[in-house]
Symmetry: C2
Subunit: 390 residues, 2 copies
């Protein structure tokens, strides 16, 4: 038996306890919980085969009651002695994609981001579309290309046409970008024909991750009318390995910004699900932005209520993301197209002026949030490096 050392200021202390999927040279992928600088093998520690699986889906599908119960058991467990064979140093494990993604939906919930993109993509129109303040605008993305943090991102090729060009050409994207987002993972299904009201959010959503919605802006700008983004996004979406349970985010809950006009009744919340998450974007190791999630106009409970209001079912493993998190200040913008204003205002990265991503660049997004009892909890990070086009 061993006692896990949990420093009082650990961002992975008892207030956090995020779940992930890991392997070691001797163990096939399985569910673990991150505790301080260790990963606890839950199948070994709790003797429950639901954790001996290569994704969180079977456990998530067991529902809210089990999520509460297992969290309490883990707190009991790691507060005392743990079987030594169940404890691995975090540096000795390989993290994997934590979930099997069912459907992937990407929203567009930051007013600052949507306004900035509107100005950049449609300079001759109002920056926000007439629907934007009435509903959380979103679209379906490609579930099959959601990848684990650390997966290399090959620069995508495709059709691009600059406004100055007469015809499109084929080639590697010249405007490869990131979007710093937060992703929410559905644990409990809802059947066809049954919307999920905002006040049932916490019974359906298991937890949250950081998400980088890699974006080829030149491909996107040419293709996206009238059916929305497609190949400009579908080549890769990276998520962080540790799923922070919604149960760990109670202390992070805040009101969303004032919503005016008042949303339709199905979008109103009895209890606010704004979240005080503080994101940090690093470009080749240098912090270039600190997007504040509390500025997001639409809450994740409103996103789920909207996504299902037409009777669409939701499944265990559905992933829906917030859209780029951008605040009102320039250094709070979560996409480089905004941060550099379409490439016209370079930012300095390690002493060099930079606009879009170059081959070899690495981007890391991390986040912290207030946890229970004054703790600060960490989302870990989502990371990816750009490789040259093939």
């Amino acid at each position: 038996m061993t006692r896990i050392a949990i420093p009082a200021d650990s961002p992975f202390g008892l207030a956090n306890l995020p779940y992930g999927v890991f392997s070691t040279p001797g163990l096939s992928p399985r569910v673990g919980v991150r505790v301080a600088n260790t990963v606890v093998d839950l199948a070994a520690a709790l003797g429950d085969d639901v954790f001996a699986r290569p994704s969180l889906n079977p456990f998530m599908a067991q529902g809210y009651g089990r999520w509460v119960e297992v969290r309490e058991r883990i707190i009991d467990l790691v507060s005392g002695d743990v079987p030594g064979s169940a404890v691995h140093p975090v540096g000795a494990v390989t993290p994997h994609l934590p979930i099997e993604v069912a459907d992937y939906v990407d929203f567009y919930a930051s007013e600052h981001h949507a306004s900035n993109l509107g100005r950049l993509f449609r300079p001759d129109s109002e920056p926000l579309m007439p629907n934007w303040k009435h509903l959380p605008v979103g679209y379906h993305g490609r579930a099959g290309t959601v990848v684990a943090s650390g997966t290399d991102i090959v620069r995508p090729s495709g059709q691009r046409k600059a406004p100055s060009e007469d015809t499109p050409s084929y080639g590697p994207s010249r405007r490869l970008d990131i979007e710093a987002e937060v992703g929410f993972i559905v644990g409990t299904t809802s059947p066809l024909g049954t919307p999920v009201p905002t006040d049932e959010f916490s019974e359906h959503v298991f937890g949250a991750v950081l998400l980088n919605d890699w974006s080829a802006r030149d491909i996107q700008a040419w293709e996206y009318v009238p059916l929305g983004p497609f190949l400009g996004k579908s080549f890769a979406t990276s998520i962080s390995p540790w799923v922070v349970p919604l149960l760990a985010l109670e202390s992070a809950r805040v009101a969303t910004p004032l919503q005016d006009p008042e949303p339709l009744p199905y979008l109103q919340e009895k209890n606010a699900w704004g979240l005080d998450l503080n994101l940090v974007v690093e470009w080749n190791g240098q912090v270039v932005s600190r997007p504040p999630y509390r500025e997001m106009y639409w809450s994740p409970a409103q996103m789920l209520a909207h996504m299902t209001v037409n009777g669409a079912s939701s499944r265990t493993g559905d992933l829906f993301a917030s859209g780029t998190v951008s605040g009102p200040e320039k250094d709070q913008r979560g996409a480089f197209i905004e941060l550099t204003w379409g490439g016209k205002e370079p930012v300095e990265v390690n002493g060099e002026p930079r606009t879009f991503l170059e081959d070899g660049d690495e981007v890391t997004i991390s986040a912290t949030a207030p946890g229970a009892s004054g703790a600060s909890i960490s989302f870990g990070e989502v990371r990816g490096r750009v490789l040259p086009a093939r």
Copy 2:
């Protein structure tokens, strides 16, 4: 042993042999092949457990060589005596969703449909967007709400705003519509970073189904800018139970209409994959449209090449649909919004003027195609009835 009677003019003869998933009161869902008016239980007839599964995915994942081999074995089998216990009258089985859908993509490949919708949705602009003739425009839909033919379609509710209204309201869709489409099913995966060239289409795509992309036009019109259709489509997409193998469609291959401007090289085809399928749309039992698939501007091989040109992977069970099949004539339009010109020109259905779908309406889409040796082969049908909003 029994001999299956196959009339010479059966649209489910040896030139067709579509696969599906069926159950009986005594048998759990499993793979069958439709032969004339029977369904042959392949696990029982061929003694192969890959067919004792509730979806075609495990068999499809075995790849092109196996598809060819199994088709030959089935032709041998049903040309002689078949074990009686493996043969079921088609009327005695329950069909199920034939595949486990991975990602679902919907294209927009009919020039007639895209032009008509452009005129209806954006009357002040050019009907076709500048990108339309350069690439097959498409977007991701909701995989989790692809349902089996015969599933009732509950009228969706959501936000709608008519141009004459100042603000949106919540309520049941008032403009519920269909889209008559053909869906293509990926059998063989392609890994991240590896586009599928047009001339490898037949090694990756296992077969085709009929697809009804139910559409709430009022919800769609309000929500779709700038990220594309979402809740106006995601409540349900119905597919036909019998997957016609691509191997059965060799005689249906035709050239696509002239593509001008010439597509970029990655979209060019050495061998044409236009298809001479003849769709029929019935509204409450009355034929209202006969959309000709051979009029589609973009071929399915071009769709798959485009969908993967950015390096996006594809998975067994990926479903991509053509978009509404509409021909140049009014009675060849595959959506009621086109057929009734936005509801302004009602069509007569069983003696009554009709525009969009009413509760209780039933829509059936069927199709035939030329098969080998002069046969005509059938896609069966996809059918759904509208139930009132909940």
